[in-house]
């Protein structure tokens, strides 16, 4: 009995020191209970900020892998040659698919739990909920465009896409595949529901939601659906409600002027690749299509040589930027993208002065004033092609090109793409209207969902 005072004293000492420690820096594990917990949850880096699988860059036409092995044996190489499946067995993680559903899990966790969260106002809860709805919709926009056919109003009600998962409970069965139409309906409904509750300003952290971010996601959604009228409408609304100045390369003394994405000017809704430091080798054709005075070439690529680009595998796209300033490409939305959506929609609507003006706003920020030549044309197709080319320069290795390729293919504007081994032999082809433009459901997912129909394929 005479020991107990000492024990009590010890306990008191321990508890007081613990409290102090917690005041300084909370560490360890916890349940999501308060509104502040959910707010911190949305600041997640690994699954929300770094959300976009790098494999998307390997699907695109302007990437080169000159040192590919014969036969290709790595997952990356399999993606690069548009192989039917990126795995031979069901026990490996399904690339691309898993990354988007991992991000969706984070947002579903907010949507499932925020109503019961303590502390914080109703308005704060609605705001976090709105951010989660927006973030989830953005992830589904990728999924529907990877595993479903491109939106076609005539067939979208039959074309299968991906399951629309809303639960974060591992015990809830995976729903069946929804149609392309259903997924788009969910995206638009969720963003629309989110809009009234989103904050006006996300300038402190562009990875978080905002009104402009929601409009910009709608603009990209309608663009991918081929609804240019609505795409232009929401692109303009995004610019009217948030940043509207493109990031001006011409005004920077050097590439070091491109800073971290989280507060980078011109960014509306920020997303990074899963692995930001990956270097990509562009194809020679792509490199040669640049104007050599284009600052995007100088600020994002290394080993440019004399700009003649004659040897494969020499020039690299450096994710971090040539000045190592954190100039990682934004996979999310930006003023630049909104400008190019406005330009494209105007060109398709034959409003050439508007298209040329939007192009001018972006392009003059990509050349030193002395090097800049304004693009002028009175030919609708020429203007449209210029806009599409400009998208290709501006959205280099940010995971967006594959979706443009799909749109162009549906448009009849996408030529055959080939892959070459080190000796220049064709090792894979992506012909126009190939079913390969819609990825196969990974076998690792079908293993758990054996009743799902697979997407069509032709080698």
């Amino acid at each position: 009995m005479n020991k107990s005072p000492i024990i009590i004293l010890l306990c008191v000492l321990l508890f007081t020191s613990c409290d102090k420690y917690l005041d300084v820096q909370p560490k360890g594990k916890r349940l999501l209970e308060t509104v502040a917990d959910y707010d911190a949850w949305l600041n997640n880096v690994n699954s929300i900020a770094n959300a976009i699988p790098n494999e998307l860059n390997l699907l695109q036409d302007n990437v080169d892998v000159p040192n590919i092995t014969t036969p290709p044996t790595s997952v990356n190489d399999w993606v690069y040659i548009w192989r039917r499946q990126y795995a031979d067995e069901t026990t490996t993680p399904p690339v691309i698919w898993k990354d988007f559903y991992e991000t969706i899990y984070y947002f579903n966790t907010v949507l499932e739990g925020i109503d019961e969260a303590t502390g914080g106002t109703q308005q704060q809860k609605q705001m976090l909920k709105a951010e989660a709805l927006l973030g989830r919709a953005f992830s589904y926009l990728y999924l529907v465009n990877l595993y479903g056919k491109i939106y076609n109003a005539g067939t979208a009600k039959e074309d299968l896409a991906v399951p629309f998962v809303t639960s974060n409970d591992l015990n809830t069965p995976t729903p069946a595949r929804n149609t392309v139409q259903e997924i788009y309906d969910h995206i638009i409904a969720d963003v629309t529901e989110a809009l009234p509750h989103l904050p006006q300003d996300n300038s402190k952290n562009r990875f978080r939601g905002s009104v402009a971010a929601a409009y910009s996601v709608l603009a990209r959604t309608y663009l991918y659906m081929g609804d240019y009228k609505n795409a232009a409408k929401y692109a303009q609304l995004a610019l009217d409600n948030g940043p509207n100045e493109v990031l001006d390369y011409a005004a920077m003394p050097s590439a070091a002027g491109i800073k971290e994405l989280i507060t980078r000017p011109g960014t509306i809704y920020a997303r990074l690749l899963k692995t930001t430091y990956t270097q990509y080798m562009p194809t020679l054709d792509y490199l040669r299509s640049f104007n050599v005075k284009d600052l995007r070439l100088a600020y994002h690529y290394v080993y440019l040589g004399d700009y003649t680009f004659t040897k494969r595998g020499e020039t690299y796209h450096l994710g971090i930027g040539v000045a190592y300033s954190g100039a990682y490409p934004n996979c999310g939305t930006s003023v630049e993208e909104m400008r190019l959506i406005l330009a494209e929609c105007a060109a398709r609507d034959n409003d050439l002065p508007k298209a040329i003006n939007e192009l001018d706003i972006l392009r003059k920020a990509r050349f030193k004033p002395d090097d800049y030549e304004k693009f002028e044309s009175a030919d609708q197709e020429e203007v449209l092609q210029k806009v599409l080319a400009e998208r290709n320069f501006e959205f280099a290795f940010n995971g967006m090109r594959w979706f443009d390729m799909r749109r162009l293919d549906a448009d009849g504007r996408m030529p055959e793409v080939n892959r070459y081994d080190g000796q220049g032999n064709v090792i894979a082809s992506l012909p126009p209207h190939s079913p390969k433009y819609t990825l196969q459901i990974p076998i690792q997912v079908l293993y758990f969902n054996p009743d799902w129909p697979q997407n069509p394929w032709a080698d």
């Binding site: 600041n43 880096v45 898993k98 969706i104 998962v165 507060t263």
Partner: protein
């Protein structure tokens, strides 16, 4: 039974039991851990990341025990027990592959199961019990076999290269094998450039890593966990003096011995015996050429071959004690002392590994093939 005079008691026990355990690493809600979001290095903000996924379908981990035992007392002063048990644990919370559509490729779910079976024999014998002379012995012998019945091992899948089976603790829990399973390359010496060769599953020789046949390029060596355990203690009392000795034996398991490597800072003995020129490969026990590209790695890999994986059985004389008690002597009483005991104790006296390297888990290294014995002399006085 009464007719068998030497059997004093014989009790047969049988028990069948059921244990449940609720694991705390997974809950019906998400468990998160604190991290710092440093995307803006100038102004980091608090963030959370997932530690465990929400799972409303968690079940108890269950262990079914079956135990059959005999307690015995035979002759005069010999008693003990014999036990046989089967323990099957199911629904063990373990990392398993799940449908990636749920948000993760693997999560803690109730799916692993392991079976343990074995027997234990204990014996306590008072061989001699006199007023001034006692000798007794205690013996415990245990045998345990385990088998992993069901588990998802993310590190070892059908596409895993042979090197993954020998890497770290990847093979500790592998379906169909004992817990702590060890895999080995079948070492076949060196080629004429000093590069290691292995036998493939058909006994053909090939250079290490050539046409890797995954699990077929390695063979199962056994468990790294002792199957047998034996403890034997003896104590002899002569008047106020006693001697006590404890011997432990661990057997039926495999252990890997280090490979002497000349490129280490403090190479082990024999490290200089490596391949230097063509023809050296004929020398028995010659080590690979350390200067080939990745030469270090080959040392790592041959360390995980049948040549360097040996019987791990070892025996230790753990504790020898001699003591004399002055209890009851008249001069103690005069000095007002209750008891005084002089004690000399030696620990880690002797270890022997039953393999050609005399290598044992107890010493952990054969740079020093013995454990440092400790000797203690004590005088204990009770007032």
């Amino acid at each position: 039974m009464q007719s068998i005079a030497w059997v004093k008691t014989l009790k047969l026990r049988m028990a069948h039991g059921f244990n449940g355990n609720v694991a705390k690493e997974a809950l019906p809600q998400v468990i998160a851990s604190d991290v710092l979001n440093t995307l803006n290095p100038a102004a980091p903000v608090p963030a959370l990341q997932i530690l465990s996924y929400a799972n409303s379908g968690l079940r108890w981990e269950q262990t079914r025990n079956f135990n059959l035992g005999i307690n015995y007392e035979i002759f005069k002063g010999i008693s003990g027990s014999i036990d046989y048990y089967i323990k099957k644990s199911t629904d063990i919370l373990a990392t398993n592959q799940i449908d990636a559509t749920r948000g993760a490729t693997s999560a803690l779910i109730n799916e692993a199961s392991i079976r343990n079976s074995g027997f234990e024999v204990s014996l306590q014998a008072d061989w001699i019990s006199r007023r001034r002379f006692n000798w007794n012995t205690g013996l415990v012998f245990a045998h345990n076999k385990s088998k992993v019945l069901e588990v998802y091992n993310a590190d070892l899948t059908a596409s895993s290269g042979s090197w993954q089976y020998i890497s770290g603790s990847y093979s500790n829990y592998l379906k169909g094998y004992e817990v702590g399973a060890l895999f080995n390359y079948r070492y076949a010496g060196l080629d004429n450039t000093g590069y290691p060769l292995i036998y493939d599953s058909e006994g053909k020789i090939k250079p290490l890593f050539t046409n890797d046949a995954k699990i077929l390029d390695v063979s199962y060596a056994g468990s790294s966990i002792p199957v047998f355990n034996l403890g034997l203690s003896n104590r002899v009392d002569i008047g106020n003096f006693y001697v006590y000795c404890m011997v432990n034996y661990f057997g039926n398991f495999k252990v890997r011995v280090p490979v002497p490597n000349a490129s280490e800072k403090r190479p082990l003995k024999g490290a200089g015996n490596y391949w230097k020129q063509p023809g050296d490969e004929e020398i028995p026990g010659i080590l690979p050429n350390p200067t080939t590209s990745g030469g270090q790695q080959h040392y790592f890999h041959i360390a995980r071959s049948d040549k360097y994986t040996v019987n791990g059985a070892y025996l230790t004389i753990g504790d020898v004690t001699a003591a004399y008690s002055f209890r009851g002597s008249s001069w103690l009483r005069r000095a007002g002392i209750n008891n005084m005991e002089l004690k000399v104790q030696a620990s880690n006296l002797y270890t022997v590994g039953f393999n050609s390297y005399n290598y044992s888990l107890a010493t952990g290294s054969y740079a020093k093939p013995y454990m440092t014995p400790t000797y203690t002399a004590a005088i204990a006085i009770n007032f």
